[in-house]
């Protein structure tokens, strides 16, 4: 089974603020790392590769230094990498990110499965994976907890989702796209040896010219999203310490809940 994994390089620091003019996220740190939920997707890809063979190719769209995250992904076992990078792609919203990624996957080769993290640690829209699937006209399952593959049904996979306290198993025809929740498995660690090996694994770079997308489909021009406003939540909520016996505290809590319900 050939698998594509979509990853995003996100800032190491959580220190992200909002630019009041452009409403874009301003990252305090330039140090990047693989988005945590994408590590869970890589782990699922590795488990499937161990079961079925084939190769795993990791894709990302970003600035040239996103190569670092691609190398980190290859240190975890991904075989090859593809970096989509071009200044004309900068500033794109989720649609203008999904289109180049889908075009890159199509250009790179045939894949049975496309995997990714359900949410990024910075933007957290949770949209790109499904949009890539729509661009490629394949089925998708988002926010999965795991995936099963049975060779007796070689053209299908079963994605498992959490549904309250139940499990929901969704049988899906291949090729398909599945995104995974952060923490759904325990990602393996790279070793010094695999870090070294990752440096010489193949990595191709695509520009927008390679992908052949029109300039009005990508970057800011190709982004239908209009960010009207974004802001840091206002701090200032007040905490009140309740005191009293257990019974008194329970009554005060009930009164407060009733008061809130009445608002």
């Amino acid at each position: 089974m050939n698998i594509a994994v979509l990853i995003k390089q996100v800032p190491v620091s959580n220190d992200v603020s909002v630019d009041p003019e452009t409403h874009a996220l301003v990252r305090a740190s330039s140090e990047g790392m693989v988005n945590p939920a994408d590590l869970n997707a890589i782990e699922e890809a590795m488990l499937l590769k161990e079961q079925t063979g084939g190769k795993v190719v990791v894709f990302t769209m970003g600035p040239p230094d996103a190569e670092k995250s691609l190398r980190d992904a290859m240190a975890l076992g991904c075989d090859e990498a593809c970096l989509v990078t071009d200044r004309v792609l900068a500033g794109g919203d989720t649609v203008a990110t999904a289109k180049p990624l889908a075009a890159a996957i199509r250009k790179y080769g045939e894949f049975d499965l496309i995997l990714g993290g359900a949410l990024s640690a910075d933007g957290a829209t949770g949209q790109v994976g499904a949009m890539v699937a729509e661009c490629l006209d394949i089925p998708h399952v988002v926010e999965a907890q795991g995936i099963r593959y049975d060779e007796a049904e070689a053209d299908k996979i079963v994605a498992v989702k959490k549904f309250h306290d139940k499990k929901l198993s969704i049988r899906c025809t291949l090729p398909a796209m599945v995104s995974f929740n952060f923490g759904c498995n325990e990602p393996r660690l790279a070793t010094l040896r695999t870090k070294r090996a990752a440096k010489s694994k193949p990595l191709v770079t695509y520009t927008n010219a390679d992908l052949g997308l029109n300039l009005d489909e990508v970057g800011i021009a190709g982004s239908p999203t209009a960010v009207v406003d974004s802001f840091s939540p206002k701090a200032g909520r007040k905490a009140v310490m309740l005191e009293g016996t257990a019974a008194e505290l329970a009554k005060k809590l009930r009164d407060l809940i009733e008061e809130e319900k009445g608002k």
Binding site: V12, L189, A190, T191, R193, K195, R196, K199
Partner: protein, 386 residues
Amino acid sequence: MAKKKIGIIGGGISGAALAYHLSLYDGEAEVIVFEKDTIGGASTAKSAGTVCLFDDSLKNRYWDVRLYGFESYLKMEAEEKGSAGFDKTGTLVVATNEEVEKVIKTGIALAKAAGYTGEYITDKDRIKEILPDISTDNILGAGYTADDGYFDGTMISNTYAKKAQKNGVVVKTGVKVTEVVVEDKKVKGLKTDDGADYEFDVVVDCTGPWSKFTGEMVGLDVPIWHTKAEAFFLCPPGKKLDYTFPVLKYPEFYGLRAGDNIFICKSHLSMDLSNPMHAGQWDPDKLPATGGTDDYFIDFLLDQLEAKVPGIVDSGLVSSWLSYRAEPKDFWPILGETPVEGYMLSTGYGGNGVIEAPAATRDLAKLIMRGESTPLLENWAFKRLL
């Protein structure tokens, strides 16, 4: 008698230990420590804290410096458990040639003279009993003691600061020194970023990797380079070691346990100041909290582990960080007076700050309070580098 006013810039292990030693001159010193961040953060927090009875990190010539440091921390631990963060894992120092072997044997003799245990082992099965993952090929033997291990530089710094405060020292954290006031080549005081002015008789730079920038405030070129300390935390295959991983010392690198993981790092004495991958002059404020390591050190440590500790070479890489050590060209600290009267240095400890700070600052406190030098201060004086 008027109290001597002393300002200490930097609240790492050197600044905190100096504040403590000055505070012991009962009521004679008025001391303020200025730390722009937190006590024992920055490069002290990234120290491995190995204070071993015999290894190659500090020459046997300075045995008394090592012993004073080690015993100061043991006493801290005895006063309050955990205050020096002691993890008594023992130390295995591997002899790869006869010269190293001789140094180890001398160190063992010195440790025994001070009442500690130590043995030089040539029985390779016995070495593997202590460290099952080691390769005993191409080694002559190893020195071993169960009496030492590693300490926590951050805990020690905070303990020193706490003891100093108890003796009247003022510790200001989150306060950055913006100017050292000098008139007629003599220090008068300093200014801080909260707008305050202070008068001092003596200002001591304890800023380690920042000393280059701190010295510029008095027009002094502090001759230190930065060497990279790139540390990697490994999770051994099988997740949990079933033995106590000792502090492991080779001339080229060292390792120690860190919880269930193993910390490894290229040794500071194997750094080459003329190699731009090893050394340079950088801005420590730009260091990331984690990561920032170079592939060069991954390759280096992989080769070392494959040859010397193959049992852990395929460990998972949990995390890594980069720190800068402050190294003068001869790899010894810079202590004491400078051409600017009243401006003193306690910097350039390289990878040995935790080992050397107690003895070095004990002697520096005596120089500041009594004007009396010591052999150590003479050996590590700034003027040797002029």
